[in-house]
């Protein structure tokens, strides 16, 4: 993490370069978990950096800048999903489940199977529940940070997380 006092002197170009180095990959991965589409995830993340450059005069410190990038990525992913045709999403879920069930002799194939099934189940959750789970268990954000990123209250974060976990548990019990 870069010190805030350094950040305040950055130009927008420097901010983009440094925040790219520090966070780009993890943001793409975050978006990819939300979208199940690495290509779109990368586009959405690039949009966020272009937006960061445009809004740098208002942000001016790394903490706010990172929060901005995260928020923008989550919002953009949400709107991508909203526009994605339901049929397509269903097809994607079915496809990834199909890949997961392909036989494999590798060690850990069973774990991989379980992970893919979990990911497919996460992809089937309502957007807010998926966001809450990804931000908590992938990005390791605090409840307050998740609330800020999702633009909702901490109470809402709690309930999205709880519902998401409950829905996943219900599915996992079907498999185990």
């Amino acid at each position: 993490m870069v010190a805030v006092e350094q950040a305040s002197g950055w130009t927008a170009d420097e901010a983009v370069t440094r925040l790219f180095a520090a966070h780009y990959r993890s943001l793409v991965r975050l978006a990819s978990l939300l979208l199940s589409d690495p290509h779109r995830a990368e586009e959405v993340t690039q949009d966020a950096y272009v937006g960061l450059h445009r809004n740098w005069y208002r942000l001016r410190d790394t903490d706010r800048a990172l929060a901005y990038l995260r928020q923008t990525v989550v919002n953009a992913s949400r709107s991508v999903l909203r526009h994605r045709v339901v049929v397509d999403r269903h097809a994607a879920t079915v496809r990834s489940a199909g890949e997961a069930s392909a036989p494999s002799a590798e060690t850990g194939a069973l774990a991989r199977l379980e992970q893919d099934a979990v990911l497919a189940a996460v992809a089937g959750l309502p957007a807010r529940q998926r966001e809450a789970l990804v931000l908590r268990y992938y990005a390791d954000l605090s409840e307050a940070e998740i609330a800020e990123t999702m633009g909702c209250s901490r109470g809402a974060v709690k309930s999205h997380t709880a519902r998401g976990v409950a829905a996943l548990r219900a599915r996992m019990e079907l498999w185990t």
Binding site: V28, V50, N75, Y138, R169, M172
Partner: protein, 360 residues
């Protein structure tokens, strides 16, 4: 039975593993920089050549004094009658906009309504350059400028003086490609032909595309009044056959290039960059786009999901410039409005224009 701890552990593992499979494009930073450069366009070039780019928070600052002096009298303009609320003037549209948008001439959208301006000033259209995927193209802003004796010639002169210096643009994405030394010595208007006498304008950097765009910038600005047909250019009082090292022909009467070649594919006309407006907000858009379909998006400046996201049908499709008026009810706050042309092939953004504005 699967406990909550197991679920958490499984989720963490699954997310980590899935994320680990995602790698990023090797040239991602280059792609981002290219897109940023496309947005800023010529602003960088100007900065590199030693003229400082105006910091964003200064935008509109030129007009501060004028904004506080908004008077009650109404000037109905002969030139550049704009629907556009200047960022610094109090946008009290007298009588309000017409209930239905009249069909404006394709090359001068937004000229269908009037705006009250302080006495001694006029709301005139000024063309600036901006980068688009198709190259350097024209964008238009309305500026409230002192108009001297109030004649058409005086108003055109004021518009050109503003145009020569790209730093007068409200939108930091817009600029000018005229040399810093250029000034306007005089303007006369006769029989639809504007004669513009420029000083210090004969030397400019060699950039055929930028030079051509700069000349169009001047021609469009100088022929924005009703009945205008063309421009005659004088340099320090004398006519020339060609201009700059790129040998642009400038003898005789010059005319506007076709809209599809000269203008940026999409414009946000109202609200202008930095405008302060009341709700409901009148949004004026224009575009030279296939079948006249553009996407409109309004987002709070603080981020968050778009407040408005919809497609808008312009009055006509390419090659003419179509216009549309949309009325939005917005809560007080600062917003970013963006109009986009999307690719029919893959839905990517082909062209965009955006402004930040405030709803009081």
């Amino acid at each position: 039975m699967t406990g909550p701890k197991d679920i958490e552990a499984v989720l963490r593992r699954a997310f980590d593993e899935a994320a680990g499979r995602v790698d990023v494009a090797p040239d991602a930073l280059g792609t981002i920089r290219t897109r940023i450069e496309a947005r800023r366009g010529r602003l960088w070039r100007r900065t590199r050549s030693g003229r400082p780019a105006r910091p964003r928070h200064f935008r509109g600052g030129l007009m501060l004094g004028m904004g506080s002096a908004v008077a009650a009298s109404v000037v109905v303009l002969a030139v550049g009658i704009g629907s556009c609320n200047n960022p610094s003037t109090n946008p009290t549209p007298v009588g309000g906009p017409p209930a239905t948008a009249t069909q404006p001439s394709p090359t001068n959208p937004g000229s269908s309504t009037t705006t009250a301006t302080p006495p001694g000033t006029a709301n005139v259209p000024v063309y600036y350059l901006g980068a688009t995927k198709a190259g350097t193209r024209l964008f238009r802003e309305y500026h409230v400028l002192p108009d001297g004796d109030g004649s058409t010639a005086a108003q055109v002169k004021a518009a050109i003086a503003a145009m020569l210096d790209g730093r007068t643009a409200y939108d930091p994405d817009y600029s000018s490609q005229w040399p810093a030394s250029a000034s306007v010595r005089g303007v006369t208007v006769s029989g639809g032909v504007t004669t513009v006498d420029l000083g210090g304008a004969t030397v400019n950097g060699y950039d055929p595309e930028g030079n051509r765009a700069a000349l169009q910038q001047l021609i469009w600005t100088a022929t924005a009044y009703k009945g205008a047909t063309g421009v005659k250019l004088l340099f320090d009082g004398k006519s020339q056959t060609t201009l700059w090292a790129s040998k642009l022909p400038v003898a005789g009467v010059l005319h506007r290039a076709a809209a599809v070649d000269a203008l940026a594919p999409v414009w946000v006309i109202d609200p202008q960059q930095g405008a302060q407006v009341g709700s409901p907000v009148t949004v004026n858009l224009a575009g030279v786009v296939f079948e006249g379909t553009v996407q409109l998006r309004v987002t709070r400046a603080s981020g968050g999901a778009p407040v408005v996201q919809r497609s808008v049908q312009l009055s006509v499709g390419a090659p003419a410039q179509g216009t549309a008026r949309v009325t939005l009810t917005l809560a007080p706050g600062t917003y970013e409005i963006e109009v986009m042309e999307l690719s029919l092939k893959d839905g990517s953004v082909v062209a965009t224009d955006n402004h930040t504005f405030t709803v009081k």
